[in-house]
C-alpha cells in the first residue's frame, strides 16, 4: 500500500497530508488522555505499535505472484480506538520512508490515510457490528482486522485511481487496475493478518484479562476469547 515517493501529484500530496495531519493531532490528544488516565496501559500501547512494526515488515508472497505486507493496525484500533493508530502508523511509515525508501515523505499523508486511518476505523466499526450481532470475540477480531487490512489496500487503489484516472475509462477503469494489483494480492494476506491478530488477542486475554475488561473489550464473565 506504499505509494512511492513523488508518485502523487503535488495537490494530492498536500491534500492527503493535511487530512492525515489532523487525525494524527487528534490521535496524539486521545493517546495522551488515555495514558494520563491509565498509565499502566503504556506498555500495551507499545505492544500495539510493535505489532504494526512487525506485520508491516513482513512482505509475504500472494497467489497473484506478487508480494505485499499486512498492516497490523487493527490490533491497536481495537485496544485504543481508531484515532490512536494515526500517530502510531506515522512512526511506522516514517521509519520506512526515511530509512528504507519504502513509501515517502510526499506520499506519507496518503499512505497514513489508508493504513492508519481508514484501516483502524474499519476495524473498530466491523468489531462493534460483529459484537452487536453476538458473534464470538475471536470471530469479531478476525473479521474486523482482516477487513481493515483489505480496506487499506482498496483505499490505496482509490487514491491512485483518483490521481491517475484512466485516459479512456476514467476513475473506475483505473481503480479496477490498481485494485487488481493491490486488493486481490491482499486477500490471503488480510486473512493472515486477521488470524495473527486473533493469536495475539488470545495471548492478551489469557495473561492480561483484567486490562481487556478495563477496555470493555471483554465482558466481565468472558475471560477467554
Amino acid at each position: 500500500m506504499h505509494i512511492m515517493e513523488g508518485f502523487l501529484p503535488v495537490e494530492h500530496a498536500i491534500g492527503w497530508t493535511l487530512a492525515s495531519a489532523s487525525f494524527v493531532a487528534w490521535g496524539l490528544h486521545a493517546i495522551k488522555k488515555r495514558i494520563d488516565e491509565q498509565p499502566e496501559q503504556r506498555m500495551l500501547l507499545g505492544v500495539a505499535a510493535a505489532f504494526s512494526f512487525v506485520l508491516s515488515a513482513l512482505k509475504l508472497p500472494s497467489v497473484t505472484g506478487s508480494c505485499s505486507h499486512p498492516t497490523g493496525t487493527g490490533l491497536g484500533a481495537l485496544l485504543f480506538g481508531p484515532v490512536a493508530m494515526a500517530p502510531i502508523g506515522a512512526v511506522v511509515l516514517l521509519f520506512q520512508a526515511l530509512l528504507l525508501a519504502h513509501g515517502g515523505l510526499t506520499t506519507l499523508g496518503a499512505n497514513l490515510f489508508s493504513m492508519a486511518i481508514v484501516g483502524p476505523f474499519v476495524a473498530a466499526g466491523i468489531f462493534r457490528l460483529a459484537r452487536g450481532l453476538k458473534r464470538s470475540f475471536a470471530l469479531s477480531v478476525f473479521l474486523a482486522t482482516s477487513l481493515a487490512d483489505l480496506m487499506t489496500y482498496v483505499t490505496t487503489s482509490a487514491q491512485l485511481a483518483w490521481a491517475f484516472p484512466d485516459p479512456l475509462g476514467g476513475f473506475s477503469a483505473s481503480f479496477a487496475k490498481f485494485a487488481t494489483i493491490f486488493a486481490i494480492t491482499q486477500i490471503p494476506l488480510a486473512i493472515s493478518e486477521g488470524l495473527l491478530t486473533v493469536v495475539i488477542f488470545n495471548a492478551l486475554a489469557r495473561f492480561n484479562p483484567q486490562e481487556l475488561r478495563d477496555m470493555k473489550l471483554l465482558p466481565a464473565n468472558e475471560v477467554r476469547a
Binding site: A50, F51, V54, A57, C67, S174, I191, N208
Partner: protein
C-alpha cells in the same frame, strides 16, 4: 483447546504464505528474452502501472536516503520486525511471570489462612 487454536491459526498463516510459492507458475520470459519477475512487490507493480496510465508523469521528489543494496534493505526490514517482535516477546514474558507470581501468592495466602484452623 486454546493452545490448539493458536497453533492451528499459526499453521494456517504459514500455509497462506507458503502455498503461493508452490501454486504460482513462473511466467514465461517476455519478448526480449528477459526472464519475467515473480513475487515482486505490489508497490513496484503499481508504480509501473502509473507509467502505463500516465506515461508523461514524472515523480517530483526523490527518497532522501535509499538503502545501498537489496541486502541493506532486508537488513532494515529485519531490524524493524525484530524490534517489534522483541517488544511483544518482552511484554508477554512479563505478563506470564506476573500471572505465575500472582497465582503462587494466592496459594500461599490460602495456605496461611488454613494453618490456624488446623492448629485448633
Amino acid at each position: 483447546m486454546k493452545r490448539h487454536q493458536n497453533l492451528l491459526l499459526l499453521i494456517a498463516v504459514v500455509l497462506l504464505a507458503v502455498l503461493p510459492l508452490w501454486l504460482v507458475q513462473k511466467p514465461a520470459a517476455d519478448a526480449d528474452g528477459k526472464p519475467a519477475e515473480i513475487f515482486a512487490g505490489a508497490d513496484n507493480k503499481a508504480r509501473d502501472l502509473i507509467g502505463v496510465i500516465a506515461p508523461d508523469y514524472r515523480p517530483w521528489f526523490e527518497p532522501l536516503l535509499e538503502p545501498a543494496s537489496g541486502e541493506i534493505s532486508s537488513l532494515l526490514f529485519a531490524l524493524q520486525a525484530a524490534l517489534g517482535a522483541g517488544f511483544i516477546g518482552y511484554y508477554l514474558g512479563a505478563a506470564v511471570t506476573r500471572e505465575k507470581i500472582q497465582r503462587e501468592m494466592a496459594k500461599q495466602m490460602a495456605e496461611q489462612q488454613e494453618k490456624p484452623t488446623r492448629a485448633d
